[in-house]
């Protein structure tokens, strides 16, 4: 066939839209190349706004993680999340808490929150967390939580010496399911 425009000038309409939407999302949440033709300023503002919304959502699922980091929550979360697409607020908060734990930067209250979650849910870091059926113990930063028949109790609080974190008020603006537009 001749005379049919192809390539960038006239892609298959719907397929072209799908591809360009995918490029835009990747540029906003996964560190992808900015799609052609978009102004950088508005793109950066959109990226920052999405991160703020996401931080608020994760803070609602992990209130002690956000509270424990205090004034540093927004930047800590944004630094961690900027090139990581969301896996949902539960996993986002869990993954960040694990990373902070490994860096010995997890605040004590957040360690207790993590220990409680670990006792309740099984999470391998790759698939959605699932409830534990059998009795289980969760540990993080010295905190120990135990779950029996679905009830979780914190047996030992986290160590409160040599913490690196602040203790301010969380920036808990909204939540994943309750934010609208």
């Amino acid at each position: 066939m001749t005379g049919t425009p192809e390539g960038d000038t006239a892609p298959t309409p719907r397929a072209g839209l799908a591809e360009r939407q995918a490029e835009l999302v990747a540029a906003l949440v996964a560190g992808g190349e900015p799609p052609a033709g978009f102004a950088p300023g508005p793109l950066a503002a959109t990226r920052a706004a999405l991160l703020r919304k996401r931080a608020g959502e994760v803070a609602r699922h992990w209130p002690l993680l956000a509270a424990g980091l205090g004034a540093g929550w927004s930047t800590t979360f944004a630094d961690w999340a900027a090139r990581r697409p969301t896996a949902g607020s539960l996993r986002d908060g869990w993954d960040l808490a694990r990373e902070l734990h490994d860096r010995q930067a997890l605040p004590p209250a957040a360690a207790e929150e993590l220990a409680v979650r670990k006792a309740r849910l099984r999470y391998d870091g790759r698939r959605a967390p699932r409830p534990r059926r059998a009795p289980a113990v969760g540990r993080a930063g010295g905190a120990v939580a135990v779950q029996i028949a679905g009830r979780v109790r914190l047996l030992r609080p986290a160590s409160r010496t040599a913490t690196l974190a602040g203790d301010g008020v969380p920036d808990a603006a909204g939540s994943s399911l309750w934010i609208s537009d």
Binding site: P13, L17, L28, P42, G174, S180, D181
Partner: protein
């Protein structure tokens, strides 16, 4: 159960954090609830059950359908919205002219479509798919966008009117979004109001926002600015929508401040106070 009447008067977005405040509003006839937060079966959040017992109209508001996505809308998400509408006995549902995921990645929030013919086709196809499964009419909400696509072919009014005409959907007009887009694009919000089909408005959203980094952000976590309230007045002067809904999604202020915002909306539109 008695079918609820359409949205009327001043309402507020129901959120778990302010359920007590909302329950204590004596004149309230209308709330909106984020549809993805309501289970399709099992117990409803207790605050919502109370409102239903008072025959308060509850409109499910979807935020994750991605009707503007190039891919077909997920039937499971439409089924959930339909089930929620049914169990809340809602007179209508609402969603956005936006997409929230593409290429297997979640954006996490509403993103704008290019105002192109292809995008009109994509969103109309998805709205039609949704309408086939929904038990009640759908109202479509134009979003606030910080970024515009380089390949816009239509202006905002033509883009929206074409989608509404082709789908027969109602319009959920967000006054704060109109303000935000006009402010961020350097356009005149009144010129847009003059060209929208205001007779199709099912209800209007009003929310707070803030200036930040050279943009107006529609945050839903700040007070409603005077400019947005003035735009509500300008909308009502042209054609008063049946209902106005205040959206607040976080950084909840003292109850007195929220009541004052609801009263200001009622006074601006000439609706009875709900507080």
């Amino acid at each position: 159960m008695r079918r609820m009447t359409g949205p009327s008067g001043v309402g507020i977005g129901w959120r778990p954090e302010i359920a007590g405040f909302v329950a204590g509003l004596p004149g309230l006839r209308f709330v909106e609830v984020v549809a993805e937060g309501v289970p399709a079966s099992g117990p409803l959040p207790p605050g919502l059950t109370q409102l239903r017992e008072r025959a308060v109209t509850v409109v499910p508001h979807g935020v994750r359908l991605s009707l503007g996505g190039a891919e077909p809308v997920d039937p499971a998400r439409v089924a959930h919205l339909a089930a929620v509408a049914q169990r809340l006995d809602a007179p209508l549902v609402s969603e956005h002219i936006a997409f929230v995921r593409a290429g297997g990645l979640e954006a996490g929030h509403l993103l704008p479509l290019p105002r192109s013919r292809d995008a009109v086709d994509a969103v109309c196809a998805n709205v039609t798919r949704a309408q086939a499964e929904l038990p009640v009419p759908i109202a479509l909400e134009p979003i606030a966008a910080l970024v515009d696509w380089p390949d816009d072919e239509l202006d905002e009014a033509d883009f929206l009117t074409e989608i509404l005409d082709r789908t027969g959907a109602l319009l959920l007009l967000d006054v704060a979004n109109v303000h935000a887009n006009a402010r961020n694009r350097g356009a005149d919000p009144l010129a847009l109001l003059d060209r929208l089909p205001l007779e199709r408005v099912a209800y209007a959203h009003v929310a707070g926002g803030a200036e930040h980094g050279g943009f107006y952000h529609d945050t839903h976590t700040d007070p409603v600015p005077a400019a947005v309230l003035e735009l509500v007045g300008a909308l009502c002067a042209r054609r008063r929508p049946p209902a106005l809904l205040l959206e607040r999604d976080g950084h909840y202020p003292p109850a007195a401040d929220l009541r004052a915002e609801l009263d200001a909306l009622a006074a601006t539109a000439g609706f009875p106070s709900v507080t």
